[in-house]
């Protein structure tokens, strides 16, 4: 079983935590998330033009790039993480251009060497899969696709073709950040997605608190939290790990126990 499949096969929902690579002491920050109970790490590749991100992640990308973070640095962070945490799945999230810059095969090989399990490419629509999908799948790296409130049943098969790892349900039609979708709509959509795929379904965008995360975990296989962690890095700098671990611990406890409480 792959690391990613394993993370969703523990009989409880998974907590997926996002941080931007190169924003602060990323190694220490990632270790804090794992110590706090993160089941999957999503590592953001900073990009100059993060079109689908709100102010928190835009600011993190700017901080990371201003600190000189290169693609080689992102890969080094991933490689070192894999050495420290052999079993924790690691997913790279970012925009297509930095991923395809040296060609899809170069990128897929580099990710294999770094021990990366999956890729989320925000602006690589399924229609443009050829730019990256085949190279990743050849190397056994999951191309994790996004579904949104605007992805209707007729379109869903196109999104699922070639998808791997888990299906990421973006719960709001909008950018990353603070708005949150109504629980009823999340539940309805997750049910709809699960009728068409056996992949685990994780829900993200706008999730910040243990209560929100628990409510989602009752209906979904995973919960993604990003901006709330990224803001802590921006706010606390070198002192961020303690804050990250505390938030991750609160979230993971809520997510992992979500179904027991309501069993």
């Amino acid at each position: 079983m792959t690391r990613l499949a394993d993370a969703f096969a523990r009989g409880r929902p998974a907590l997926i935590c996002f941080l931007t690579a190169g924003d602060g002491d990323t190694a220490a920050n990632l270790d804090a998330l794992v110590a706090g109970g993160a089941d999957v790490i999503e590592l953001g590749m900073p990009f100059t033009d993060p079109m689908a991100d709100g102010p928190a992640i835009q600011a993190a990308d700017i901080r990371a790039l201003a600190a000189g973070t290169s693609t080689a640095d992102v890969l080094a962070i991933a490689t070192a993480f894999r050495a420290r945490h052999p079993a924790v799945p690691l997913v790279l999230m970012g925009y297509a251009n930095p991923m395809v810059r040296r060609g899809p095969d170069w990128f897929a090989n580099a990710l294999t060497d770094a021990g990366v399990d999956g890729v989320i490419s925000v602006d690589l629509a399924p229609e443009e899969d050829a730019d990256l999908g085949p190279a990743l799948r050849d190397q056994g790296i999951a191309l994790i696709r996004l579904a949104t409130p605007t992805t209707d049943d007729a379109r869903l098969p196109a999104v699922l073709a070639g998808a791997g790892g888990f299906l990421y349900y973006v719960s709001v039609a909008g950018i990353t950040g603070k708005q949150q979708a109504a629980m009823a709509s999340i539940e309805e959509n997750v049910m709809r997605l699960k009728q068409q795929t056996d992949l685990p379904v994780a829900v993200g965008f706008g999730v910040r608190t243990p209560d929100q995360a628990a409510a989602i975990a009752r209906v979904a296989d995973g919960v993604v939290v990003g901006s709330a962690f990224v803001e802590l890095v921006g706010e606390h700098g070198a002192a961020a790990p303690a804050h990250l671990q505390a938030l991750a611990a609160g979230l993971s406890a809520a997510v992992h126990a979500a179904r027991e409480a309501h069993a």
Binding site: D49, T71, E127, T150, A173, G174
Partner: protein
């Protein structure tokens, strides 16, 4: 080029690809909308009533057809230092005489008719120089739709008259402070707004770039320039021009002029990018100094570093200050049908003044780049040859920038 296509005019393919360029690289939230837009555009194209409405507005609201003008004194001035027998005739397509002062309005009229067809009730747009913002605000006022214009804070500061124009027309102007606070950042912010408001909002993109079908539909709306010019030239001179010249920001005025001539093998074409401070310094020439990549919904030539991070361009012309270029130009460059060159800020400024004094026309800084390229090309061409350039905008908006660069206090 071993295998030339039968026609250069049947791009893109059904997936929006111009060769390896173009496509639909957008977040999933936008994909259904982009597919919808394509369906609606196909239906509109096949609907004679849509075409009639478009033509009627172009004639009576925009003021088309724009004149085709023989620039006799400019031609003479360039012949003065041309070798014996050289110095081609220079003609202009006068799109600076359009309502709102540039070619941008042609596209805005087409897109707002599409928005209305799709039942959208709110319009957004990005703008650099403010010309596309003014044109968008204009058609929104004309059709009574609310509109929000995203404009980099740097551009808001250097294009104050256009900011005020947009406000007079009832638009909300949102200054964008992310990145270098110029056109690409305004486009990012417009995309963020669009993702959050897909249910009621139509995004009027201002150049022949973005996700399919935008490059195609903007080209089609702007092709009125080339169709008119081709017919006017044939009627006036009985022949086609030998060389077409147009400035390139995202490439909409250039593709609008070029496209109807692409299968006229005897017509050469030259696109002129902004070389800013020089191609070895900061510039905005993505074909001359960039590499293929993915940004703002399409694959095309981009100014970027070895990691695929987008780099900031520079041009004295805010309308050319964009690190990308429409995908059809990227393809036309690769297949060799169109040649591309670049001229510096200084060369554009010199050409700007030359046109003012020889023809009594104050051009925008964007077409001043095209004129600068003509200064070099005309003297290499025999006197009986004809150059046709797109005078795609007037310079009222630029007089403050030019005064500053010339050291004149106003």
């Amino acid at each position: 080029m071993s295998s030339q296509p039968n026609s250069f005019r049947n791009q893109p393919d059904e997936c929006g690809h111009f060769g390896q360029f173009g496509g639909r690289y957008v977040a999933e939230t936008l994909m259904p909308l982009v597919l919808d837009l394509e369906r609606e555009y196909r239906a509109a194209k096949a609907d004679p009533r849509f075409q009639e409405q478009f033509d009627d507005l172009l004639e009576h609201y925009v003021g088309r057809p724009s004149p085709l003008y023989f620039a006799e004194r400019l031609t003479d001035a360039l012949r003065m230092d041309a070798p014996e027998g050289m110095g081609a005739e220079v003609w202009f397509k006068r799109d600076e005489l359009n309502h709102t002062g540039a070619h941008k309005i042609n596209n805005c009229v087409g897109q707002i008719l599409l928005a209305i067809r799709m039942g959208k009730t709110r319009i957004i747009a990005e703008t650099g120089a403010g010309q596309h913002g003014v044109a968008t605000a204009t058609v929104c006022a004309r059709f009574g739709l609310p509109c929000t214009i995203f404009m980099g804070a740097t551009d808001v500061a250097r294009q104050q008259p256009n900011v005020f124009r947009m406000k007079l027309l009832g638009a909300e102007v949102v200054p964008v402070t992310s990145g270098a606070a110029t056109l690409k950042d305004a486009m990012n912010e417009a995309l963020r707004d669009w993702v959050a408001n897909v249910h009621d909002t139509f995004y009027i993109i201002g150049t022949a770039a973005g996700p399919h079908p935008y490059p195609e539909l903007v080209r089609d709306f702007q092709s009125v320039i080339g169709r008119e010019a081709r017919e006017q030239m044939l009627r006036r001179t009985g022949r086609l021009p030998d060389l077409l010249v147009a400035a390139i920001g995202g490439g909409s005025n250039a593709i609008g002029l070029f496209h109807p001539f692409l299968d006229d093998a005897e017509v050469e074409m030259l696109g002129v990018e902004a070389a800013g401070y020089g191609l070895d310094a900061k510039h905005a020439a993505s074909l001359a100094g960039g590499a293929p990549g993915i940004l703002h919904g399409n694959k095309t030539y981009l100014l970027q570093d070895e990691d695929g991070q987008i780099t900031e361009g520079h041009s004295i012309s805010a309308g050319l200050d964009y690190p990308g270029i429409g995908p059809e130009h990227a393809w036309l460059k690769e297949v060799g049908r169109v040649k591309y060159t670049a001229v510096t800020d200084q060369e554009a400024l010199d050409a700007f003044q030359l046109l003012c004094r020889t023809e009594g026309i104050i051009p925008a800084l964007e077409p001043a780049h095209a004129i600068a390229a003509i200064v070099y090309r005309a003297r290499e061409m025999p006197r009986d040859q004809v150059i046709l350039a797109n005078l795609c905008g007037r310079g009222d908006k630029d007089i403050f920038t030019v005064a500053e660069r010339l050291g004149v206090r106003m």
